[in-house]
Symmetry: C2
Subunit: 206 residues, 2 copies
């Protein structure tokens, strides 16, 4: 019962030893994986090595990260979608939906400028590793239903309207699509311009 509310360095102060250890182990796994991936390349590192490095058994590793090897370095699975949904719901009056989404994406993910070098290395690793890139995309796409719901509510349409779902999907595809570009920000803007204005229907000349 003692020390339940002691300051613990920014972590939620209501966690008991149990949850604290859990979070510690999860982070140890994440860091071990990130270091080994960066050092030897994703496919030349086995989960056994990562478990060893984090000083846990392989079974424990999978207990902490049930989604498998790729999920190891993504400790933020579910939050991604919440950002975008919140961006739609809480945007200032007078602002169009797509503008809110554009701003939100611009500040997160691979688009934020002057990223700390640690995160920059992580981003480069993800972009350069097909398995990780695919999984990252999966995480974004997982928010499709929620984002579609938010957009539908906002525009007074049915949440299952295909136009709404497509828009949600297309927005969520942007990080994968533009993340590897030399100038991600410019790419981001180009794509949003396309989504806002559509593709000019220049007919083929005879």
């Amino acid at each position: 019962m003692r020390f339940r509310y002691r300051y613990d360095g920014g972590m939620a102060t209501t966690m008991g030893r149990r949850e604290r250890k859990k979070a510690q182990t999860r982070q140890a796994l994440s860091q071990a994986a990130l270091r080994l991936f960066g050092e030897h390349g994703y496919d030349r590192v086995t989960v056994a090595q990562i478990a060893e490095e984090a000083d846990v058994s392989v079974a424990t590793l999978f207990a902490h990260v049930p989604d498998g090897k790729e999920a190891l370095i993504f400790d933020d699975g579910a939050e991604r979608g919440l950002w975008l949904v919140a961006a739609v719901r809480e945007r200032p009056p007078g602002q169009p939906v797509l503008q809110a989404l554009r701003r939100c994406l611009a500040s997160r993910g691979p688009f934020s400028t002057d990223l700390p070098p640690e995160l920059r290395r992580k981003r480069d690793l993800i972009v350069a590793t097909p398995a990780l890139r695919e999984y990252s995309r999966k995480l974004w796409i997982a928010a499709e239903a929620a984002l579609a719901e938010a957009i539908a509510t906002d525009s007074g349409r049915d949440p299952r309207d295909m136009t709404v779902r497509a828009l949600a999907r297309y927005v969520l595809e942007i990080p994968d699509l533009a993340g590897a570009e030399p100038d991600p920000r410019a790419a981001l803007d180009a794509i949003f311009d396309l989504l806002e204005s559509g593709w000019p229907a220049s007919p083929r000349p005879a």
Copy 2:
């Protein structure tokens, strides 16, 4: 040397015994996989069972289908993209790019009406099985560069223009996005309308 040019039922008549056997085996594998998947479900069928059913060794199975279990029932990997590229290049004068793509997609993939029951079952299996659906999407997306190239050439832009690449990606995403809808054709049209006109920028009311 005899019979090299005998009629063989529509197959290329210039194939020797070797290539003929190869194609036979490939088809046997495809059919065995499709039947077993349909009967027991994708993840409850092992590649060993499929190899057994097709009367080849597991090693031979992987020699014929190096892309793995999911690729077994897709005997048309590369062609998908070619259709769309051809649709852009060979469209009648006066027709916009997106209209050509819309028509092309409408006739292929999951969108063609009155599909023979055999292919309908196959389509349902793919749509209902995440691994197969993902792989199918991958096959479409693989044509992104080629389609972007065609669109760029047509519209006089740079093939690496992000707008062009995004449009190509978005078109190729359509089968996965609309294929599972109750009315795929209507969904297809809704998405193309979005791509042509963009999303109306209705600002949020205060």
